[in-house]
């Protein structure tokens, strides 16, 4: 602090507290709604204190979703978890390999491959929806985990990040490894990979959230309820209109959909911040 201004310090605390309260308010209301019965939620205004039906609501959605939809949120959570893990680990794996090839080898068309990966930054799913959907449909990958994940695992950002990091690994390490007779893959496993651990952890947090929160892509490639991810499941639950929607169950599902990525951010906060900053460099 530059100078002591008690009034300004008080204002700071007040503004921050109001900010935190506004940020938390929608989630608090969601939590309250998820602990009440459908009738209690429907009375306007809804009571703002937690109710007593938390366990039964969560048990109900985990087992068979909201209303008569059938597919349980438990199943959707598993789908989300599988997609998020495959997307995060897949992106990291193929980016590590590509970056290693680009940094540690000289070969024809090296620059060409580098730019090819770079250009994918400029082609997000949103701008090539229909043709990408058609490719996936032609390959018979609709309603499969492969269809949910593989089209998303190319990553220019991760490749750049690892390339940037590999360039900072001292050349002496590679020279020493070569003198000791280690081949490139041995060097990769025993030196590069262990050194990359902090970067991998940071990237994993960001990519896990990215994978878990995917929306447009799962919306297109999943038509069967047992392949829905949690985020898609909620959208389907509310599309029936107000009267047909059990809001207490929808809100319980929303809590469940937010929980895993929020836990990852809170428990791995240090890696999360590093990942955000690194990924945008």
């Amino acid at each position: 602090m530059i100078e002591n201004r008690p009034l300004l310090t008080w204002i700071s605390y007040i503004v921050l507290t109001i900010g935190v309260a506004i940020v938390a308010f929608p989630v608090y209301v969601t939590l309250v709604a998820s602990t009440r019965t459908a009738q209690e939620v429907l009375q306007a205004p809804m009571p703002l204190t937690p109710g007593t039906h938390m366990l039964e609501n969560y048990a109900a959605v985990l087992a068979h979703g909201a209303g008569e939809s059938g597919a349980g949120v438990g199943r959707m959570m598993v789908n989300s978890l599988i997609s998020a893990l495959v997307i995060a680990i897949g992106k990291i794996a193929i980016s590590l390999l590509s970056a290693f090839a680009i940094v540690y080898f000289r070969f024809p068309f090296r620059r060409f491959f580098f730019w090819m990966i770079f250009v994918t930054l400029m082609l997000p799913v949103e701008v090539r929806i229909l043709p990408t959907y058609k490719v996936v449909a032609d390959l018979g990958m609709l309603d499969t985990y492969a269809g949910l994940t593989i089209p998303l695992i190319a990553s220019a950002t991760a490749t750049f990040l690892f390339r940037q990091f590999f360039l900072t690994i001292p050349d002496e390490l590679a020279e020493a490894a070569r003198i000791d007779g280690a081949g490139p893959m041995r060097f990769f496993w025993d030196v590069v990979l262990p050194l990359s651990r902090p970067n991998i952890a940071a990237l994993f947090v960001i990519l896990f959230i990215y994978g878990w929160n995917q929306y447009l892509w799962p919306l297109l490639v999943t038509t069967q309820e047992d392949m829905y991810t949690t985020v898609i499941g909620i959208k389907r639950m509310i599309s029936g209109g107000d009267a047909a929607t059990d809001w207490n169950l929808v809100m319980a599902t929303a809590m469940l959909a937010m929980l895993p990525p929020a836990l990852v951010v809170l428990l791995m906060q240090r890696w999360f911040v590093k990942g955000l900053v690194d990924a945008e460099k």
């Binding site: 620059r111 043709p131 909620i234």
Partner: protein, 295 residues
């Protein structure tokens, strides 16, 4: 690619094998579809889904003569300006105060960053529940205060709803970068200004804000990209582009015309327009932002 390695491994085939997985995914799911979009954007299909006909730039001409498409451009522009403007202002205010606070700074930071983890579509559902005209609690307060609140009927209210959800989700990201930017400003500068008699407001206006401008510019680009592309889930879950066209941003229109309307040529032409926008934004980001932002 400025820096290069000196110590290298040699192999005729290994580098290609290492690149193979990434290159396959890139070609099959990025380049083929993008190429297809380019080709389709110059074709029309007859009404029976049969033969394709080359029509040159007709699809694009139709697009830019289409009042609905131009309207969608306007909605997108307004939406991005509101999301970026409000998002940056609110997070800057929070970051400035968080930077001042000594005790509990870490707690406030933790309490402000987690909305980043919430999926856009979920953010939309949370706010939609608050603003739902029949059962939403905020809607109830608004109605009690005499506001005629029904975002299902009034376009500007629907736009406000999606802007709030989009800003809520993005504030945490902006906040983190602003806070990092503020913490990297040398304290000696601020101390010198304070000794010369500059108060907090003056210091902010003449030292902090100018020194923060690289971060601000970087965040501006990131927020515009976010508003253009990453808010699809918010729009789809909260309003589906409605009422009318009030919240139909470009990305949503591509989806609607392509998947619901099955207008292949028109949707592909829209994809190409969007691609041009992404390419422009990416070039701006890399040419003008990257080297000037420091952490």
């Amino acid at each position: 690619m400025a820096a290069e390695k000196r110590a290298l491994f040699r192999s005729q085939w290994l580098p290609y094998a290492l690149l193979l997985p990434q290159v396959i995914v890139t070609i099959v799911f990025f380049f083929l579809p993008a190429g297809q979009a380019l080709i389709q954007s110059t074709q029309i299909q007859d009404a029976f889904g049969g033969s394709l006909q080359f029509v040159g730039l007709d699809n694009f001409r139709d697009l830019f003569n289409d009042a609905l498409y131009l309207e969608s451009f306007k909605v997108t522009a307004l939406f991005s300006i509101l999301v970026a403007g409000l998002g940056l202002t609110i997070s800057l205010i929070l970051a400035v105060f968080a930077d001042r606070v000594v005790r509990g700074a870490g707690v406030y930071k933790t309490l402000l960053i987690w909305p980043y983890a919430v999926a856009p579509a979920i953010a939309a559902v949370l706010w939609l529940f608050l603003f739902n005209p029949t059962l939403g609690i905020v809607a109830h307060w608004l109605t009690s205060a005499g506001v005629d609140w029904n975002y299902l009927l009034y376009g500007n209210q629907a736009l406000m709803l999606v802007v709030i959800a989009a800003v809520w989700k993005q504030v945490s990201y902006n906040f983190l970068f602003f806070l990092a930017g503020l913490q990297s400003i040398p304290k000696s500068l601020l101390e010198a200004a304070a000794i010369d008699g500059a108060g907090p407001v003056k210091r902010f206006a003449t030292i902090v804000f100018p020194l923060l401008s690289p971060t601000t510019f970087f965040l501006l680009v990131v927020n515009i990209v976010y508003a253009f592309f990453d808010t699809f889930g918010i729009i789809d879950a909260a309003t589906s582009g409605g009422p009318g066209q009030a919240t139909e941003i470009l990305v949503y229109k591509v989806y609607k015309d392509g998947f619901k309307g099955l207008d292949l040529g028109g949707s592909a032409a829209q994809s190409v327009v969007l691609m041009t926008i992404v390419i422009t934004l990416t070039v701006i980001q890399f040419r003008y932002v990257e080297r000037k932002v420091q952490y």
